[in-house]
Every structure is written in C-alpha cells, then in structure tokens.
C-alpha cells in the first residue's frame, strides 16, 4: 500500500491504496463519485479528468503515477453551488440525458475551451472524439458548447497548471 498527496479540486488530500489501483477508483473512493466508469479501457471517456491540466482517462492511470499532481473532476467545475456557464449551457440545450457520459463530456469540453475559447464545429468534434454518449446523440452536446460561443461567454480555466 502507498499513500500519496494530490490536489483534488483545489483541496490537498491524501490518497491511500495499492500502487496499481486505478486513479478512477481512488477518486471515487474519496466520495467524489461524479467521475464515472464506462468501458474501463480508454475508449469511452466517462472517466475523463484533468491531470495537471491535461485531459486523461482516469481508468488508465495507476495511483502510483500521480504523486503531487493536480486533479480536476466534474465536482471542481461549479463555482460554489452555482453551475458554471458550461454546465448551464448543457442544461439549457439538453446536453445530458441519463448523465453517465456528462461528467466526462464536461471535462473534455473544459479542456477544449481552454485551448480554443471559441471552437469551430470541427474542433469540438475532435475535442470530444474520445467521449461517447449513448443517449442524446452527440448533436445536443455539440450544441451545448456552440451555444456558449453565441452568448460570447468565454470559458474561464479552472486549473492553475493550464
């Protein structure tokens, strides 16, 4: 067993577990169960998180590799109790149905918007190519991001290492 320190959604915490334990499980074991498991094989993006500002699949990362890293999950997006503009846009546009893919979609969109504040449809598609939704189809999710552009509200970064 190992114990390492990470910053999870701006809070310094200790994670304890086996070195090869999947980061996905370590995060969920802290009670932050927003991050979901879909495939467990890097294909679906349900487990997407930002690790030191980079979009990664937490199902593919062993605990021992994240010592001193900064992790952002879907729980880190809202500003206190208020949903951020991206989350509100998903609500308005019907970008979520059952919600399983939504945390991953929001995290992948956050990464995308940090790179391209006003992304084109092509950029959105490429940015979300590793995230699957089995409910709404992808159109409403893409529209949720485009809607943000129309309102001209640029997304503000949440990770200090971005």
């Amino acid at each position: 067993m190992i114990q390492i320190e990470v910053t999870l959604n701006s809070k310094k915490i200790k994670l304890k577990g086996h070195p090869m334990e999947r980061l996905l499980d370590s995060i969920r074991n802290t009670g932050a169960i927003g991050t979901k498991e879909g495939c467990g094989e890097g294909e679906c993006g349900a487990c997407s998180i930002l690790l030191d500002g980079k979009l990664v699949n937490s199902c593919l990362i062993p605990l021992a590799q994240v010592e001193a890293c900064e992790i952002i999950t879907v729980e880190g997006l809202a500003e206190g109790k208020k949903l951020n503009s991206l989350q509100q846009s998903f609500l308005q546009c019907g970008g979520a149905q059952c919600g399983i893919c939504t945390p991953g979609m929001l995290i992948a969109s956050t990464y995308l918007l940090n790179k391209f504040p006003i992304p084109s449809r092509e950029e959105i598609k490429e940015g979300l190519a590793g995230n699957f939704c089995r409910c709404t189809g992808h159109t409403k999710i893409i529209e949720s991001i485009e809607n943000l552009n129309k309102k001209g509200c640029h997304y503000e970064g949440v990770c200090s290492k971005l």
Partner: protein, 292 residues
C-alpha cells in the same frame, strides 16, 4: 475489473540510473503511459508482478536537436510531438501519425517509446518513423546501443530488446536529399482516431528531374510487424516515375507484405487496399510532376 490489484506492484524511480539499477537487479517490466498495459490490466491479461514506471524520469522526456539529428525522448507523448515546431517543420508524417493515434486523452498519455516497444503490427507511429530512417537508443546499466528501427522488429511481438534494457531515445536524421519531397500518411480504419488500423500507409518520395531520388514506404497491419517495403523501394529508387512503373509497384508490393485475416479485416482486402493506396498516391505525384 478482472485483475486482482494487490498482486501487482509499480515502482517509480525518479532518474534513469536508478531505473537501470533496479532493472539490473530484479525482474521488473517497464510501464510508461500505461495506455496499452492498463487495457490488459482491466481485462485480466496483464502478467502479475512488479512493474517499473518510467513516468517520473525527466531524462526520457522532450524533444531536442544536435547538428545531425532530432532526438525524441522515449517518454514523449503524442501531444508533445504534435505541438513540436521542429517535428512539424521536418517530419510531417510523424505529425500525421500522432494526430490519428487515439483521441486527445490517449494522445496526452500515450508515449512514442511505448508505441514502438508494444510491438503491435498495427502501431501507427513506426510506419512514419521508418520513412525517416529512425534509429533508437537502448540502454542497460552497463552499455548503450544505437540501432536502426527497421532492424528492431524481429518477428511478431519479438524485439531486439533485452529485459534489462530501456528505449531511451528516438533519433531522426536531418538528412537533406535533393528534390521535391512528397509525403502521404493514410490510416484505414473504422474510425480514424480510436480504431486500430486495418492498414496504415506512410509514403515518402523525393523526386528530382522526374527521377525518384528517394523512396520509403512504411506499412502497418499487413505483416507480423510494422515494415518498410524494401522490394518496392528497390524497384522504384533511381527510376523515372511513369504510369507503367506505378503498375509495377502495385504488383511488387505483394512481395513485401503478408497480411492475415482477423476480426478487423481480411488478407484480401488488405492487399487490395495497399495496392490502391500506392496507385493513388503515386498518381498524385506523377500528376504534379508532369507539369514541370
């Protein structure tokens, strides 16, 4: 999750010497970005035991250059390759390969050393690297060797790599060959990014005064390993590019490849596709050069 987690260990040395020492003392397997290994882990197919993580070894990261070559640390990710200006300006096939490997989350984590060492016949970067005559450095505690990537793959999943060796660096020579350079990278798969290639095609041709001054064709998923099409290269080098030669190349390529039927595609389809791709891209080059 099919694996029993407590039966695995992952040690994380923070410099290359430490890692090489550990490798010389006990039986551990290497672990880089984990994007191949964690899939095996999840499905219960990863051999139990002790692994050595390379992730914290900064000597293995990043892209640099000297007078003769560009050096890519084995731990460099696809994303870092995509964003590198040196690579963008000199090795477009490698950029194309990095772009079609997985989706963004895979590109942020998967490493070029892992792609080479995983030895999949369907790996997407070796066909591009082979077109640039890449070499790799492998090190153990006592010595290091620099070998041609084209000689590194011995057979299906068999590498010229000892259990105590680490791939530390990939070298791309800055060779200037006279003429106009054409390069085409084409991955045939069900979806470009996430899917495993049915055929991966990487072509680099340099034409001077209508003569083929340089010809390299890297291929994936059509042989037990990723390969260079050596027979076809012999046929083409030094010749004038014509329609007749293109037809000959389409036949010659069958001597270079030995595809199989598997769940992704059939041998027949792979042969046909490879022939069609050669025809298509050489015709494009021919067209460009018939106006000059």
């Amino acid at each position: 999750m099919k694996a029993y987690v407590p039966n695995y260990n992952l040690i994380c040395p923070t410099n290359l010497n430490q890692a090489l020492n550990i490798l010389s003392e006990k039986k551990v397997k290497l672990f880089a970005g984990g994007t191949d290994l964690m899939v095996l882990f999840e499905t219960g197919k990863l051999t139990e035991g002790e692994y050595l993580s390379l992730h914290a070894i900064s000597e293995l990261k990043g892209i640099s250059e000297n007078n003769n070559e560009i050096l890519i640390g084995s731990l460099t990710t696809y994303n870092e390759i995509k964003e590198s200006l040196i690579i963008q300006n000199n090795f477009p096939l490698l950029i194309s390969a990095a772009k079609v490997t997985g989706a963004i989350a895979i590109q942020n984590r998967g490493t070029i050393g892992g792609n080479i060492a995983n030895a999949s016949p369907a790996a997407d970067t070796p066909p591009a690297l082979l077109c640039y005559e890449a070499k790799i450095t492998v090190k153990n505690k006592k010595e290091e060797r620099k070998i041609d990537l084209s000689k590194f793959y011995l057979d299906y999943k068999k590498l010229d790599l000892a259990p105590n060796e680490i791939i530390t660096c990939i070298h791309l020579p800055k060779k200037k060959i006279e003429g106009n350079e054409y390069s085409f990278y084409h991955k045939v798969g069900t979806r470009e990014g996430q899917a495993i290639s049915k055929v991966c095609f990487s072509l680099r041709v340099i034409i001077k005064n209508k003569i083929i001054n340089y010809f390299k064709l890297g291929l994936g998923s059509v042989s037990p390993t990723t390969i260079l099409a050596i027979q076809t290269e012999k046929l083409m080098a030094g010749e004038m590019l014509t329609k007749v030669l293109i037809k000959k190349a389409q036949n010659e390529i069958l001597k270079d490849i030995s595809p199989i039927d598997d769940i992704r595609s059939s041998a027949k389809y792979r042969k046909k596709i490879t022939q069609n791709l050669i025809g298509h891209y050489l015709e494009l080059i021919l067209k460009e050069n018939s106006y000059k």
